[in-house]
């Protein structure tokens, strides 16, 4: 647990998770039409008679850019905790989508995780494990503060609590 709080570990995890997210976004940004078709395959947010294609298409064009931006922030280390939380939320969303597909017996041949081409990986148990692993990394980055930050926070508290300091 101590190792998880080492700033260097956070730095490395941030770069690794960020790289995964950026890598995952490239193919989808390049081929929005193919990615939209994959979104349809999940049958989670359409297309349906009531909603039409708008919801699924909007997700297909925006999701890759949210992934890319999240990955970029994780790599450069700006807003890293918030970017990690965003990544965690995205991963939870992916898990829900894959779980939904499996529960409904929908054969998602290509999960659309990293590639939109036909040779992609199917949505299955392996994919769920992979997402859970990434989710663990994201949660560490979001909620386990690196030591340096912890030290700074304690200093701050001490400063406020110090006798003679003006209260806020």
């Amino acid at each position: 647990m101590r190792a998880l709080r080492h700033p260097a570990v956070h730095w490395l995890l941030g770069i690794a998770l960020g790289a995964v997210f950026i890598y995952a976004s490239i193919d989808k940004i390049e081929q929005p039409r193919e990615f939209a078709r994959i979104v349809y395959h999940y049958r989670l947010i359409g297309p349906t008679a009531a909603l039409g294609f708008v919801l699924a298409n909007t997700l297909a064009v925006t999701l890759p850019w949210i992934e890319a931006l999240t990955g970029l922030l994780l790599i450069v280390g700006v807003w890293r905790r918030e970017a990690a939380l965003t990544a965690a939320l995205l991963l939870v969303m992916f898990l829900v989508a894959v779980g939904w597909a499996l529960a409904h017996g929908i054969d998602v041949e290509n999960c659309g995780c990293f590639s939109v081409s036909g040779e992609g990986r199917a949505a299955g148990a392996k994919l769920i494990l992979q997402d859970l692993g990434l989710l663990a990394v994201a949660l560490v980055l979001a909620f386990v503060p690196p030591r340096a930050r912890e030290v700074a926070r304690v200093n701050e508290r001490v400063r406020y609590a110090a006798p003679g300091a003006t209260s806020k």
Binding site: E34, R43, A49, W65, A68, E82
Partner: protein, 151 residues
């Protein structure tokens, strides 16, 4: 942790995505069906490919007059006769809009009905592939058929 930053990341990403879709040069129509490429021709598939799609849960539409449908059709196929398109379509529309993979067939050997039905479906934003050579291709390949009014 500042939660507004999470919202800001999502909003900025979504904004970038919509902007890229609008101005990036390879955007898609947000209300359109991504299966239909503008200018793309109707897809024709052979019997083997049709069988594969049927096994995967594709919806088959029989474009022939209902009398032919009752004499024999692809198992699971629904009648969408070209000569009674509008009425049949109204009945089937919810189902069609929820189905991603649709195959239309007719009597084969130059019959036009499947092309007409596929074109009418396209006009309504529904993509359907056409079984090349239609019904005879299916029976010649020795695939199962079904008689009667029930799909």
């Amino acid at each position: 942790m500042r939660l507004w930053r999470v919202a800001a990341i999502v909003a900025a990403g979504a904004f970038l995505g919509l902007a890229w879709n609008a101005f990036g040069g390879r955007g898609i129509a947000l209300s359109g069906n991504a299966y239909i490429k503008p200018g793309e021709d109707v897809v024709e598939i052979d019997a083997a490919e049709a069988k594969k799609r049927l096994d995967k849960g594709a919806l088959f539409l029989d474009a022939r007059p209902v009398a032919f449908y009752e004499m024999g059709h692809v198992p699971g196929a629904l009648p969408l006769p070209e000569d009674d398109f509008d009425r049949a379509f109204t009945r089937l529309e919810p189902r069609l809009r929820n189905t991603l993979d649709i195959v239309v067939y007719c009597s084969g050997y130059g019959c036009e009905a499947s092309h007409i039905v596929a074109r009418k479906l396209r006009e309504k934003g529904i993509h359907a592939a056409i079984l090349h050579e239609g019904w005879p291709a299916w029976t010649d390949a020795g695939y199962r058929t079904k008689e009667g009014k029930e799909p």
